[in-house]
């Protein structure tokens, strides 16, 4: 199972890095722009008279703050998930150790 997971993880890394190695951004105004922003641009292109009627209450003041908050989001998620899996792994190992121990 561990081997299968490592292979799957390798595939994930390959799929994520392949676009960086291929010349896929040739001719694009902004390489690797977000799809959400592109959809927004498509709206404004097709409907130039549309005005957003509400704007975000708060915006991260600057790109650094934005990347900090994205990193925080990922860290919170990965931290909790890692805590859970580590806890259960430890419990599973202890159970196994308990059952294989020969009682006196």
């Amino acid at each position: 199972m561990k081997r299968i997971n490592l292979i799957l993880l390798g595939l994930v890394v390959a799929i994520a890095t392949l676009p960086l190695l291929l010349p896929v951004t040739r001719g694009l105004a902004e390489p690797f722009a977000g799809a959400d922003a592109q959809a927004q641009a498509a709206i404004t292109r097709a409907h130039p008279d549309y005005r957003p009627w509400f704007s975000p209450l708060w915006k991260p003041p600057g790109g650094e703050i934005e990347s900090f908050l994205f990193a925080l989001q990922a860290a919170l998620g990965a931290g909790l998930l890692g805590y859970y899996l580590g806890l259960r792994r430890g419990q599973a190992q202890r159970r196994r150790a308990d059952t294989t121990d020969v009682p006196d």
Partner: protein
């Protein structure tokens, strides 16, 4: 798949919010029931939310030369049933709307419907249908198709609000679908693979939690999604 703040006309924003609310209510009730009947699975439930939290923060490059992110909602959907993901997905979307100006409050309802309702339900249905093909294959297809469904719904929501001046809804659907769909395919594969990895690890170390949820029984019996009453 985040529709930006203010980028749905008020009527559409209100309608999608109205669609999302019943799913949130049912999801909240379901979470209350799960945590009271199966208290030992609380941490797993939180972890399923955490999985969506981390995956939707990762903007990954795609072969189209643009970036997008997975949703991570399939894991919780196949473990706990799709309705809980309405609430967990909404928390993720609210965090991003308030702190990252990513998505928005007026578009929260539409984004919840896409990411926290349709995606999880498609994932769940797909999981149930393809389960006989093997656990790994079913999890992979569920997560991949759930992810793609989310982006397809976003494209449809935008096409409804902004039909093409000449070719109408379908023309706009093709346009917005073109922005999201091709970019999303490799990311949906990534989401499928990551979800399989987590389910594999859960299967190995967290068997008790899965049994408590009747995960494997439910799958074998092919019965309704109802959770077994706790035997503990």
């Amino acid at each position: 798949m985040h529709i930006m703040e203010g980028f749905l006309p008020p009527l559409h924003a209100a309608a999608w919010t109205a669609v999302a609310i019943p799913f949130l209510v049912v999801g909240a009730r379901r979470i209350t029931r799960i945590t009271s009947e199966h208290p030992r699975t609380k941490l797993l439930l939180a972890s399923a939310g955490a999985f969506a939290f981390v995956l939707s923060a990762l903007k990954i490059p795609s072969v189209t030369g643009s970036c997008s992110h997975p949703t991570g909602t399939a894991l919780g959907s196949i473990l706990f049933g799709p309705s809980v993901m309405a609430v967990l997905g909404a928390i993720v979307l609210l965090f991003q709307a308030l702190l990252l100006a990513h998505g928005g409050l007026t578009t929260l309802g539409a984004n919840i419907v896409a990411m926290a309702v349709v995606g999880p339900w498609v994932a769940y249905g797909c999981f149930r249908l393809t389960r006989p093909l093997g656990l790994g294959i079913a999890v992979f297809l569920a997560a991949m198709l759930g992810d793609l469904a989310t982006y397809l719904v976003t494209a449809a929501q935008l096409a409804l609000a902004f039909p093409d001046p000449v070719r109408g809804f379908l023309g706009a659907l093709a346009k917005f679908g073109g922005v999201f769909a091709f970019t999303q395919v490799p990311l949906a594969v990534i989401e499928g693979l990551l979800t399989v990895i987590v389910v594999n690890v859960l299967n190995q170390y967290s068997r008790n939690d899965l049994d408590e949820l009747g995960f494997h029984d439910r799958v074998r019996a092919g019965s309704s999604a109802a959770l077994k009453p706790s035997t503990a």
